[in-house]
């Protein structure tokens, strides 16, 4: 079993030197996600600016505890989504999810996933896929909560929708 497939240099770098770590203001929503089987935890804040499809992920800050895979995935995720519009960020999330669920048969697109391509090997270790996805799930949860809150404040009664950029 070649664990070098799992522990790529890029992953170990992000693990040792995580990007955007720490909890910052301002933010609209803070979420706390756990991985019940292993106990990994992340507290994550999302700050959006702008409206509708133009809404931009201005900041994602976090405090996390977990294995190298979960910590590196969080770091890479913040690199990928900060500065993107929400639909762009959701499209990247979808691409990363497809890679993780691909059992090692999905060829990652470096133009979209950047350092995220290093996680291609994680898909071959089914027990670790959840480690790589925890903070993405937290980010998606926080983002949708912000959009729901805005929608409710707008009081048009319609269901908010998370739209990906196609």
């Amino acid at each position: 079993m070649d664990i070098d497939l799992l522990y790529q240099e890029i992953i170990l770098d992000h693990y040792k030197h995580p990007h955007h770590k720490g909890l910052r203001d301002p933010y609209e929503v803070e979420v706390h996600h756990v991985n019940p089987t292993c106990g990994d935890e992340v507290t994550l804040r999302v700050h959006l600016t702008g409206e509708g499809d133009e809404a931009v992920v201005e900041d994602v800050s976090y405090d996390a505890e977990g294995c190298s895979i979960s910590q590196a995935a969080t770091s890479v995720m913040t690199d990928l989504v900060i500065g993107k519009t929400v639909p762009e960020a959701l499209a990247i999330h979808k691409e990363f999810l497809a890679l993780m669920q691909g059992r090692g048969h999905v060829e990652p697109d470096e133009d979209v996933l950047e350092d995220g391509i290093a996680f291609a090997g994680v898909a071959k270790f089914p027990a670790r896929v959840k480690c790589a996805l925890m903070s993405w799930m937290a980010w998606k949860d926080a983002t949708s909560q912000i959009l729901v809150a805005r929608m409710t404040a707008g009081a048009d009664g319609s269901e908010p929708e998370l739209k990906e950029q196609s």
Partner: protein, 432 residues
């Protein structure tokens, strides 16, 4: 696959090791497994589940091949054989734990179900066993979640209070406030005999004596104790005691609840169904006597047969000998772990009066990563909170790596673990 070149020598002289360890290992077919890249299996996850000797596997296969039929209800020859085998296992369990009566031994699906049986039937009990809002249930901070959550559910349902024994820094129960914790309000004291995270062996008889002075019921979780030391429910002074089959070289799917007859008779049934009734009428049913009152539905028959074979196997080796072997291996492992810089062991640091579960943390490497790297070298350990989150929180860690030995563990396997840990540190570029 030929394991001759890869199997580890088990003949290192260490006082207390089981005689004929190589022969004992040969009883466990899985131990000859070769894993990815030609590494021999080094199985150090026995606190999670133990491996099974050939006699247990054979007993279950023989039962299914030659004697299979339902128990109690089948009137034919196979039914008689199956019922006899099932009930014979109950006799073996009773002898294994020194139960005064075989009727006090109830088969469940695991230790969790056994604990839930006690907590749920107490929630439904009327009369002297009824739990009320003024009552307290006392557990400890080192419990497995299966001995926490059922009591949380019970106390929430009845408006009662759940209280906890704390832990000392060296992983013992903090008994300094026992007079404050065990009072006239205490209805139940439920505690583990041996911690699955820290390896601590608790003074159950001493605590039971205090609990009985105030009329409390004592429940002992022997899930980690039953595999590695002689169990005597009378000496332990327990009212209820549970353990699970799969940790005592038996199969999964079967657990044991032992309870004092007077208490079991007072408690209401747990699950309703076949086997647990005396008569059923449309207006009301009456219930079978113990143990069948608590064994609704077709029980795990082949599993009971397997558990009986497992108990025979352990009894033939002798539980005192198993205990001595565990102490020898644990002492050797503690010594080895102490040479790994940056590694901290949680729980007692000496092997005497200690279980074989060794949980530890290494500076700079997360437990999941430790376990992943060890696994790539064929070494199976567990990483995570081991279903003991409060105990982890007490020691300021979210998770640990746990190596746990059993009667088939060799000093050479401990050497492989220590080498694997040094390799892990290098892999993650941890210096020192």
């Amino acid at each position: 696959m030929n394991s001759a070149q890869t199997s580890l020598p088990a003949d290192r002289a260490l006082p207390g090791l089981l005689d004929g360890l190589e022969l004992i290992r040969a009883d466990f077919p899985i131990l000859t497994r070769e894993l990815a890249d030609g590494f021999p299996l080094v199985y150090l996850d026995s606190a999670n589940t133990s491996q099974k000797p050939q006699v247990v596997i054979d007993a279950m296969v023989d039962h299914l091949e030659r004697h299979n039929s339902n128990v109690a209800r089948a009137m034919h020859q196979l039914g008689a054989e199956s019922s006899a085998a099932f009930e014979e296992s109950r006799d073996k369990v009773a002898a294994f734990i020194n139960a005064p009566s075989r009727d006090e031994v109830i088969f469940t699906k695991n230790a969790s179900e056994a604990l839930n049986l006690v907590a749920n039937t107490l929630a439904w009990a009327r009369g002297p066993l009824a739990v009320g809002a003024a009552d307290e249930v006392l557990i400890t901070e080192m419990e497995h979640h299966s001995n926490i959550v059922p009591w949380q559910l019970l106390t929430e349902r009845k408006g009662a209070t759940l209280r906890w024994f704390g832990l000392t820094d060296d992983g013992q129960l903090d008994l300094s406030n026992i007079d404050d914790l065990i009072t006239e309000r205490t209805k139940v004291v439920s505690l583990t005999w041996v911690s699955n995270m820290l390896g601590t062996v608790n003074p159950v008889a001493e605590i039971a004596r205090r609990a009985h002075e105030v009329g409390a019921i004592v429940v002992v979780d022997a899930s980690q104790a039953a595999p590695q030391m002689p169990i005597d429910v009378i000496a332990a002074d327990a009212d209820f005691l549970v353990f699970t089959g799969h940790k005592v070289v038996g199969p999964t799917g079967i657990g044991v609840l032992w309870g004092k007859r007077a208490l079991l008779e007072q408690l209401p049934p747990f699950l309703g169904g076949g086997e647990m009734i005396a008569t059923v009428a449309m207006e009301k049913s009456t219930y079978a006597d113990i143990p069948h009152k608590f064994e609704a539905g077709t029980p795990p028959i082949a599993e009971a047969v397997g558990l009986g074979a497992a108990i025979d196997y352990l009894s033939a080796i002798g539980m005192s000998n198993v205990k001595a072997h565990e102490e020898a291996i644990t002492g050797y492992a503690l010594e080895g772990l102490s040479t790994v810089k940056g590694l901290a062991v949680f729980g007692p640091k000496t092997a005497s009066n200690r279980g074989g579960a060794l949980s530890f943390a290494i500076d700079g490497v997360h437990p999941h990563d430790v376990s992943q790297v060890l696994d790539s070298r064929g070494i199976a350990v567990r990483a995570g909170h081991h279903c003991a989150k409060p105990a982890h929180k007490r020691f300021g860690v979210q998770s640990t790596t746990r190596a746990s030995s059993y009667l088939y563990t060799t000093p050479a396997e401990i050497d492989a673990l220590i080498e694997g840990l040094e390799y892990t540190k290098k892999y993650f570029r941890v210096t020192g």
